[in-house]
Amino acid sequence: MRPAATALIGLFSLVLLGAGGAWAGSIIAVEAISFGNIVMDPDGDLIEIDASGGAASPHVYGSGRSFINGGNSGEIRVNSTTAGEVITLIFPGSVAVSDGSATHTIEGFSARSTSTPVISDGSGLMAFDIGGLLRLEAGQADSSYDFDITVTVQFDNP
């Protein structure tokens, strides 16, 4: 009797381990950030997309004189069907590209994106708006600049 009972409990333990991954949400879509067409202040400028309160457009941050046409915040959509699941977005401190004459960076993602962690109600789709602060340096060349921002989405089932 004793050996049989022990084996059953061990099997139950393995089933629990395997089920953990199936509970987690997943990333289902990503929409790019666009800072629009910028006629830049020759002295350089800061362009902000503050999506902390929802989808947003770019605007000049501070006293800059750049002109911006178009643009939009980005979005990450996840699927979470487990009520109580805690979702946290983890951003890099900054990302940069260089055109040879100047280096431009985007930073401040966390402060300009939907605040996390958030707790899922288990209903499924959840959307997170993504913004940032683009730092344009003087002396840069006219061009279209592409940045890649690696975002980690953490699903925590306490």
Partner: protein, 184 residues
């Protein structure tokens, strides 16, 4: 019997610990960001001066160039003046590297920086007011107003106004400077 019981107990402890610790799963994705940057500025190029023509006036008269409809010639708005040589609205072409709506305004000064006047350089002046602007085929006429620009497409801006001539206006050629400013 005793050994088997201990193994069972340890397994149960393991299960409880796993249940208490929960699971954490992380997924990474790459979100792209783009910025199209240009250092080129909006360019304004004079095409045609604002010209009220040649006017003969024996009484107080107002000469109007109504540029709210685009290119326009001067007409007598009040008084008995006669326009002997026709003039025209001022015209400025505007080029922009981006599609945008910008604020535009203009000011008129005579040779000694008096606003809304033109002068003959000899101490005689006339008032030029109610200036009007017009852009392409849109309705306009306000100052300041807004100018709709399309990237790579040259837009035209027309400038008019009302010139006030006194009955005792000294004969001469009166000039001033119209400064158009685009704010963006």
């Amino acid at each position: 019997m005793k050994v088997e019981f201990k193994f069972c107990f340890l397994t149960m402890i393991t299960v409880l610990c796993l249940a208490a610790s929960g699971t954490v799963y992380a997924a990474s994705t790459t979100i792209s960001a783009t910025a199209t940057v240009s250092t080129a500025t909006i360019t304004l190029t004079p095409v045609q001066n604002l010209d009220f023509g040649t006017i003969v006036a024996a009484t107080d008269s107002n000469i109007l160039i109504d540029a709210t409809g685009g290119a326009a010639a001067p007409s007598v708005d009040s008084g008995t003046a006669t326009i002997t040589v026709a003039g025209n609205a001022g015209e400025i072409s505007v080029d922009s590297p981006v599609t945008a709506t910008v604020d535009v305004d203009y000011a008129i000064e005579d040779s000694v920086s008096n606003s809304d006047q033109i002068d003959d350089g000899g101490g005689n002046s006339m008032v030029l007011t109610a200036a009007s602007m017009y852009q392409n085929s849109n309705t306009g006429g306000s100052n300041p107003g807004q100018l709709s620009l399309t990237a790579g497409v040259t837009s035209q801006l027309y400038v008019g106004g009302v010139l006030q001539i006194n009955a005792a206006q000294a004969a001469g050629t009166y000039t001033g400077t119209v400064t158009v400013t685009v704010n963006y």
